[in-house]
């Protein structure tokens, strides 16, 4: 036991310790004040004036240096280090030659790209067509994400001089292939040839020394960090000479996604320059300091469609009339207004994104499109034989049994949780009973895949080069026990799927429009999914340290404003290159 002397020592110690904390706190406070006043350099820290701070992409530790793991690689790996053959700007529907200087279909089933000369890898070796061939040939591995390229007709890749030639055995899937042109990042064969197939498709390849790319940045620090990761600019980027792109940030620090409140506070305080998080209420902060792509509603570009996905194998959702009634019963404008504060827009009845406007057949929309109309929803229900027999205000199933649809979204996705409450409320007015439910993400994925749900909201398909991805998502056949990524609603329409495949195999806008018009006719009449609203390419920037952010008001700055995976080659790299010091 303590003697009284020892006890006094213990007391003294704890008092001392508390005092020490207080002293440290006050030192910290002083330091903070000094730093707020002059946000310059800490001796070993990065210079604020030439460092870009971003957040909104990274949910895992900064460990994955594998550009083929397109869902997991550290923010910026593709775009800043590894680059594809082309970049693509969805806002202008324009491909920009990147590591290739040109590419075209020289025959119906032969594509030839010319690889840029004078591009060097960061280890000094030149980029060669063999690197491109090697990269695309990794798709032969069954677990490669783009393995479909090789199972759908690609026969061989050959190189000659600066050219790479892709030869297909059948009519190629042009739409898919165009996507690969800007989505597959080219890796150096001389480094990657040592890796096993498993390492290539699922390894983290966690040695920064072997992270050899052609892009403007290279590893700074932060491997395996759960807080931040730093890219350092390297000299000699080919695009500086070719396109005059010369990013000003000497360092790009990406910050792990944390709680919303911390992320917003850091953005407002200027500790973060670009946040690609969904920030509720950001519309009230937009002004001279905080900017978004549009200066007023909808503030954000539309990046994907949020769909209401019905389970078509269950009654009454298998009934097309019921689906039309359901669609007419949903007050999407209320979601846009009350839930999102106008930072999203209601979706077109076809569900196609605004960037695909030219593929939307307005005559079809006029003829078959749905609108929010409670009385119409009621009359469709009545005409189809759904009646409220027990007088509880809700219609019953045709067989008289109680009708109660559960609508699921992942727990914690607060904007969607609010949205489905609004949906349930507005469906109630039409007499349809919907119960909002919030299972956790993995449970939802499991149930959705195996068809154990009534209604679910989903927005998996992102903005890109072609509406084919959307029709592939809606109509793809065959169905299996577990629908992991597409056709969650289990829509079995061979005619629609045949048209979708045809769409993949044409390569001109008029030919595509002809098919998309037919697809829209099927979609709008059958309504296998109900498009709700467009989720935004969430982007809010602080102009304190960097300005010239992407904006609709300048043609040069019309690029996607996101660091998200897959977005740097859709304009993100232009965003970084366009930035100017804020002072």
């Amino acid at each position: 036991m303590f003697t009284s002397r020892k006890r006094r020592v213990a007391v003294g110690l704890s008092v001392l310790a508390v005092a020490a904390v207080a002293v440290v706190a006050s030192v910290g406070v002083g330091g903070a004040a000094a730093r707020t006043a002059k946000p310059a350099t800490a001796a070993a820290g990065l210079p604020r004036d030439t460092t870009l701070y971003t957040t909104g992409t990274q949910w895992g530790t900064y460990s994955d240096l594998n550009p083929f793991k397109t869902w997991d690689y550290v923010t910026g790996l593709v775009g800043l280090v590894y680059e594809p053959m082309f970049n693509y700007n969805p806002l202008k529907d324009k491909y920009t030659p990147w590591l290739a200087t040109k590419g075209s279909w020289i025959q119906k089933n032969v594509y030839r790209a010319t690889i840029r000369t004078g591009v060097t890898w960061s280890d000094g070796k030149p980029l060669t067509p063999a690197d491109v061939k090697f990269t695309f040939e990794t798709g032969k591995i069954a677990t490669a994400t783009f393995h479909q390229l090789w199972t759908s007709g690609l026969k061989s890749i050959t190189t000659k001089g600066n050219d790479v030639t892709f030869t297909f055995s059948t009519t190629p899937n042009y739409q898919e292939f165009n996507g690969y042109l800007y989505n597959i990042a080219i890796v150096p064969q001389h480094v990657w040839k040592r890796y096993t197939p498993d390492q290539i498709t699922s390894g983290n390849l966690a040695s920064t020394k072997q992270m050899v790319g052609t892009g403007p940045y290279t590893y700074g620090s932060g491997l395996n960090s759960k807080q931040s990761f730093t890219w350092k600019k390297r000299s000699g980027w080919w695009a500086t000479g070719v396109y005059g792109l010369n990013p000003k940030p000497q360092y790009i620090v990406d910050i792990f996604n944390g709680s919303n409140n911390a992320s917003l506070a850091n953005l407002l305080a200027g500790n973060i320059d670009l946040s690609n998080n969904f920030v509720p209420g950001i519309n009230t902060k937009v002004g001279s300091k905080i900017t978004t792509y549009y200066p007023s509603a909808p503030y954000m570009l539309s990046g994907n469609t949020a769909w209401l996905v019905p389970n078509l194998t269950r009654a009454p959702l298998s009934d097309v009339q019921f689906r039309h009634a359901l669609a007419a019963s949903i007050d999407v404008n209320k979601i846009v207004e009350a839930d999102y504060g106008h930072i999203v827009s209601p979706a077109n009845p076809t569900g196609l994104l605004p960037v695909w406007k030219k593929y939307i057949d307005n005559s079809m929309v006029q003829k078959y499109g749905f609108t929010f109309d409670v009385s119409k929803a009621k009359s469709i229900l009545a005409a189809a034989g759904y009646k409220d027999t027990n007088g509880d205000g809700y219609v019953e199933n045709k067989d008289g049994s109680t009708l109660n649809l559960s609508l699921i979204v992942p727990n914690g996705w607060s904007d969607w949780m609010t949205a489905i409450q609004i949906i349930a409320d507005s469906a109630k007015a039409a007499g349809i009973k919907i119960t909002p439910t919030y299972p956790d993400y993995n449970t939802l994925v499991d149930d959705r895949g195996h068809g154990n749900y009534d209604l679910v909201i989903n927005n998996d398909q992102q903005i890109g080069n072609t509406p084919w991805t959307y029709y592939n998502y809606m109509f793809r056949l065959p169905l299996s026990d577990n629908q992991t990524t597409v056709n969650y609603e289990r829509y079995n329409n061979p005619a629609a799927w045949a048209l979708t495949q045809q769409l993949d195999k044409v390569n001109t806008v008029p030919a595509m429009q002809k098919i998309t018009s037919q697809l829209q006719s099927i979609f709008l009449q059958d309504l296998p999914l109900i498009p709700l609203w467009y989720n935004g390419v969430w982007a809010q920037a602080n102009t304190g340290h960097w300005k010239s952010w992407p904006t609709v008001s300048s043609s040069k700055l019309q690029t996607l404003p996101a660091m998200w995976r897959g977005y740097l080659q859709m304009g993100g790299i232009n965003m970084i290159s366009n930035l100017q010091p804020g002072k």
């Binding site: 704890s14 994400t145 931040s228 944390g258 709680s259 506070a265 500790n271 993995n442």
Partner: protein
């Protein structure tokens, strides 16, 4: 003493076995398949989804019957292998825990120890001073009843958002990376203050109330009255009361220290602190069986060791236990 220790050790071995078995089983009772979650996040085309499912199911050893998974789990455990993370495939679970542990330990050990010492002192003082009792007691109740999260949010709001004197997100400045430099150390201290304060304050309230009530109870005990009747000075009586009142508090301290590797989940999440607590949350969200198992295993081991130490320490610090044991023999 030897039989006592042996008996204790046997109990602990059994507890360990049962706890580890439960540790293995619980994540598997959670609904949802980790591999499907992973495939969904990958957005793999249907052409590769099937192959990927097969590959990852095998990679995580989930392609064999449950009993075999269980045996494999023990076999790996014996070799110190906690498996591979689902969330950060193919990184080993041990790496992830080792990376997060320093942050949690640096936050929780000082918070627990300082709140223990300060709380007990103040609680003991409150028990014998009316003024202090009237102020500290309500404050203690308020503090200990305060959810960590709420206190953390209030602190973050006041010091981070309104006055902006302290950073509220992360464990060190975004412009730094961990290293043995003065800059990093200073930055670390600055980022440490708010999460530490939120843990310290709530812990402080709990200890203070516990001690205050315990002292009052002890002062009412027969031995205290007896001493008083003998004319012993108040100081002496209070010293004895303090010693006795400290015993249950020490158990609480040991348990808190034992569970230290669980991290302070809510506090870490609010402050984006990269410790074990936020790792637990991520593991749950990603159905990362192996990571979750690994962290729980650390907690189990920690709690068992702490209990064992308490068992031994009690023999040393509490004469009654000692005498009881000798009597038993």
């Amino acid at each position: 003493m030897r039989t006592y220790v042996a008996r204790k050790l046997l109990t602990y071995a059994l507890t360990f076995f049962v706890a580890v078995t439960i540790d293995w089983a619980i994540p598997r009772f959670m609904p949802g398949d980790p591999v499907q979650g992973l495939i969904s996040r990958m957005q793999a085309q249907p052409g590769s989804a099937h192959a990927l499912t097969g590959y990852y199911t095998k990679a995580f050893g989930l392609d064999v019957p449950a009993w075999k998974q269980y045996l494999n789990f023990w076999a790996a455990l014996v070799h110190g292998d906690l498996g591979v993370s689902v969330w950060q495939y193919p990184r080993p679970v041990t790496d992830l825990i080792v990376e997060a542990a320093p942050y949690t330990l640096a936050l929780l050990i000082p918070a627990i120890l300082l709140s223990f010492f300060a709380g007990n002192k103040v609680g003991a003082m409150a028990a014998r001073r009316k003024v202090l009792d009237n102020t500290v007691l309500p404050l203690g109740y308020v503090l200990t009843a305060t959810p960590y999260m709420w206190l953390a949010l209030v602190l973050a709001y006041v010091f981070g958002s309104v006055t902006r004197v302290l950073p509220i997100s992360g464990a060190y400045s975004y412009s730094l990376q961990p290293g043995w430099t003065l800059d990093f150390a200073l930055s670390f201290m600055r980022y440490w203050i708010l999460p530490f304060a939120s843990l310290f304050l709530v812990g402080f309230g709990g200890w203070a109330i516990g001690m205050r009530n315990m002292i009052i109870y002890e002062l009412e005990a027969d031995y205290a009255h007896y001493l008083e009747a003998l004319g012993a000075p108040r100081r002496l009586i209070r010293r004895y009361a303090y010693r006795n009142a400290l015993l249950p508090q020490i158990t609480g301290l040991a348990l808190a220290l034992g569970a230290v590797l669980a991290g302070a989940l809510v506090t870490e999440v609010v402050f984006n602190y990269p410790g074990v607590g936020s790792l637990v949350l991520t593991a749950i969200q990603n159905r990362d069986y192996f990571l979750l198992q690994g962290i729980f295993l650390c907690i189990i081991v920690g709690v068992l060791i702490a209990n064992f130490i308490v068992d031994i320490a009690y023999v040393l610090i509490d004469p009654r236990t000692r005498i009881g044991m000798q009597g038993h023999q």
